[in-house]
């Protein structure tokens, strides 16, 4: 009788543990962009694949900006996030329990990318005259941080002396130039190239920067789970990359954390535009 009771107890505990494992839900914060629907669409196939492969429930926890993502990591409501190099370094400096686990490759298959400043071909850019700059987000790498750097290095202009505003995404920043609201836009080089089909041209581009990464909250996700997630992501067959949405289109690579050393977060970044 005792043996039977113990067996039932052990099976019950074991089943509950298994059940708990199967039911665990991870919360993923995609890129904070203005168009929530669009950004969820972009990540949906990847998240669906991860759910199936890891037997985990993964829910989107969309945040409007990087500050909210930082808060989410801190209060445990975010377990994973898709982050560019600048927000990662900034978040890491404030919350050390985050860790990049894979890089999202760029179009050329590398784990680095560039930012750029673009304008419409027919618009005239005179560095001596005042102009307006469209930026992505305060903590976006290609936002204030790189645009400020490029304007200073390439044209000797201080961004803080010009008019600028945050448009919350690379596409929005570029589109606002097409809408004649701004003269220049700071964005990733890859997205800026897409806008060449609308007659936009890149007038300055940055050095190579570490690619976007899947960043994990090590306080809410166990080391074993992190290992499983990393292995799952890195084992996606290349033939499936295109099915995983635009963000995984060019594959995934292991993270080289030394690349983040090039990001200098001493630069002060205003959280609002000056328009």
């Amino acid at each position: 009788m005792k043996i039977l009771f113990l067996s039932i107890l052990i099976i019950s505990i074991f089943s509950r543990t298994l059940f708990a494992e199967q039911q665990k839900t991870l919360y993923f914060a995609p890129l904070p962009m203005k168009n929530e629907k669009k950004v969820i669409e972009e990540f949906f196939p990847l998240i669906e694949y991860m759910e199936k492969s890891l037997a985990l429930k993964i829910k989107f926890n969309y945040k409007k900006d990087y500050n909210d993502i930082l808060k989410g990591f801190m209060d445990g409501s975010i377990d994973m996030a898709y982050l560019g190099p600048l927000p990662y370094v900034v978040l890491k400096s404030e919350y050390s329990y985050i860790k990049p686990i894979v890089f999202f490759n760029q179009k050329n298959g590398t784990t680095s990318y560039r930012c750029a400043i673009s304008k419409f071909s027919l618009d005239k850019f005179d560095p001596k005259k005042p102009f307006k700059v469209a930026l992505t987000q305060p903590l976006s790498t290609c936002g204030y941080y790189i645009t400020h750097k490029l304007l200073k290095e390439k044209f000797g202009i201080l961004l803080e002396n010009e008019k600028y505003d945050y448009k919350m995404s690379h596409t929005n920043a570029l589109t606002s130039v097409m809408r004649e609201e701004f003269l220049l836009a700071g964005s990733s080089l890859e997205i800026a190239k897409k806008f060449e089909s609308l007659g936009m041209e890149v007038i300055a581009q940055s050095e190579l920067l570490p690619a976007f990464a899947m960043v994990i909250n090590t306080k809410t996700v166990s080391a074993q789970e992190i290992k499983k997630i990393r292995e799952t992501l890195l084992s996606i067959p290349p033939s499936n990359y295109k099915k995983m949405g635009v963000r995984v289109e060019y594959g995934l690579s292991p993270v080289d954390e030394t690349l983040y050393k090039s990001i200098d977060i001493k630069q002060e970044i205003p959280l609002r535009g000056n328009l």
Binding site: I40, E41, E48, L122, R179, K194, F195, S197, L198, M200
Partner: protein, 523 residues
């Protein structure tokens, strides 16, 4: 009897079943009429919304073809093959049109898309950096607009999303420049419908060929299989703001499951016609209506589905349930009444048979014993005579009219006075009337009879009925006479007495005592 009751029970049960089925059919018809009305209303509203958007699209198209700068750019683009130059011209075109697109977006125009005369994407205002992909093979509406130069209106799948398309060919100065498309998302249609008919929750089911099959790979996840049927897709509720509310609504999900497993749902869905599925859940009723949506080739492309709670259906159901109860009760009551009546009839029939038997026995008895019975009802002045009375009187029952007078006419003239007095005296004294007398039959034959009668009186002492019997005692009298003669022949004196009075004495007695007969002796 039991068999008859059983057969009646079976017949009534069958009748009840047919009656209930008839009521059920009437109820179904009432619900169908209600559904048809609902379908008609939403269908008319849906068509009105589509037509309104067509007017808006036409207006937008007219704006485009009257925009000189846009047309000039389109002419130039048609003749420019160099891609960098084309890109700049595309940018200029974007700058010419984006303000108009902003207005269109506010009107739920999701896509404002210009194509080249060869059916390639020239400028997607909603996704401006994505262009130059060939749409000729995938988008029939664009092929028709650029090859047959006519406008195409209807639902159609696309590279990015499925929607209601209004595609017009652009022809300026007799030159075909391409086509322009205005697309309304289901969100737009749904918001208008929700404003006009707010009681419903809407959903768009799209066939796979018009949804996931046509979308860019990166946009395929925008669709997911519908909870209603595996052959239909909906905007992915994980992504879509419009379907999320409807598709994640617990009640809608529960209704969808029940609809999916409702009888003949698959067959109805396969017919590609408007239809309704009603779900009744206790005190609540729901309608799930399907309106057939056609694509630009007028072929089934999906269904506009709308869910609603319908109190009217519950009212109809309750009303007809009452009818069913009343009908059942009426049938049961009629059945019980019929049982009672049948039972009574059986009892009456039994009593009648018994009476007939008694009558027949009495008739036979009266015939054998030569006695009849007479009833006289004073108030009605009516007589009842048994058959044997007619025989005793020697009259024809068909022609003889019984009355006091006709009776007296048949009494021997020597006995009339005696009979009359005796009868009257018995009424007066309220005593039993008994008398022996002679009757003269119609054929002249004389018969001896003995009558006994009694009378019934009302509360005031008035006579209401006389009941009597009449015996034909002729044979006894003959036998008696013969006995008298036999005794008279004897030398001995013979007397017969009841101990009080002399009943009879023979001639030897009279002769011995010097009397002629009994009468002179008793005097």
């Amino acid at each position: 009897m039991k068999l008859k009751i059983f057969i009646s029970f079976v017949l009534f049960t069958l009748f009840t079943v047919f009656l209930l089925r008839y009521i059920q059919q009437t109820e179904n018809q009432a619900i169908e009429d209600f559904n048809a009305h609902s379908l008609l209303t939403v269908n008319a509203t849906y068509n009105a919304v589509i037509d309104t958007y067509e007017v808006a699209a036409k207006k937008d198209f007219n704006f485009l073809i009257s925009n000189t700068k846009a047309l000039t750019l389109l002419h130039t683009l048609k003749n420019t093959k160099d891609m960098p130059k084309r890109n700049i011209l595309r940018g200029e075109l974007y700058r010419t049109l984006y303000k108009s697109y902003d207005v269109m977006k506010a009107m739920h125009v999701k896509q404002f898309h210009i194509q080249t005369d060869k059916g390639k994407s020239l400028l997607r205002m909603h996704l401006p950096y994505k262009s130059e992909d060939n749409l000729m093979d995938i988008r029939k509406s664009i092929r028709v607009a650029n090859t047959e130069y006519r406008s195409v209106i209807g639902f159609e799948g696309g590279r990015i999303f499925s929607g209601f398309r209004y595609v017009y060919p652009i022809i300026d100065k007799d030159e075909h420049l391409g086509s322009v498309e205005f697309s309304i998302s289901f969100e737009g249609i749904e918001s208008k419908l929700a404003a006009l008919l707010p009681k419903y929750k809407y959903q768009l089911l799209i066939v796979k060929e018009e949804s996931a099959d046509k979308a860019f790979n990166s946009f395929k996840s925008a669709y997911s299989v519908s909870a209603l049927h595996n052959n239909y897709y909906v905007e992915n509720p994980e992504l879509s703001f419009i379907t999320r509310d409807t598709l994640t609504n617990c009640q809608i999900l529960s209704l969808s499951k029940r609809v999916k497993h409702s009888p003949s749902f698959d067959e109805k869905l396969a017919q590609h016609k408007d239809f309704t599925v009603n779900i009744i859940d206790g005190e609540k009723a729901y309608s799930v209506n399907f309106i057939n949506v056609l694509n630009t080739s007028k072929v089934h492309a999906g269904y506009l589905v709308y869910f609603s709670e319908e109190d009217e259906i519950i009212n109809i159901v309750n009303k007809y349930n009452q009818h069913k109860i009343v009908a059942t009760l009426l049938v049961v009551m009629v059945f019980v009444l019929l049982l009672i009546i049948t039972n009574q009839i059986a009892k009456l029939r039994y009593a009648k048979n018994k009476l007939q038997f008694i009558n027949s026995s009495l008739y036979e008895a009266q015939k054998i014993a030569h006695f009849g019975s007479i009833e006289y009802h004073y108030l009605e002045n009516s007589y009842y005579l048994s058959d044997e009375v007619y025989n005793i009187f020697g009259v024809n029952p068909q022609t003889f009219k019984p009355s006091f007078k006709t009776f007296l006419l048949h009494i021997h003239p020597d006995d009339v006075k005696k009979v009359y007095n005796s009868y009257k005296q018995s009424i007066k004294d309220k005593t039993i009337y008994t008398i022996q007398h002679r009757l003269i039959r119609d054929n002249g034959e004389v018969v001896f009879v003995e009558e006994h009668a009694t009378h019934e009186f009302n509360e005031d002492g008035e006579i209401v009925k006389s009941i009597g019997t009449i015996y034909d005692i002729t044979q006894q009298m003959m036998a008696y006479k013969n006995l008298e003669r036999f005794i008279d022949l004897q030398n001995a004196i013979v007397i017969l007495t009841d101990g009080i009075e002399f009943q009879f004495a023979n001639k030897s007695f009279y002769n011995f005592f010097g009397f002629e007969n009994l009468e002179t002796f008793t005097k």
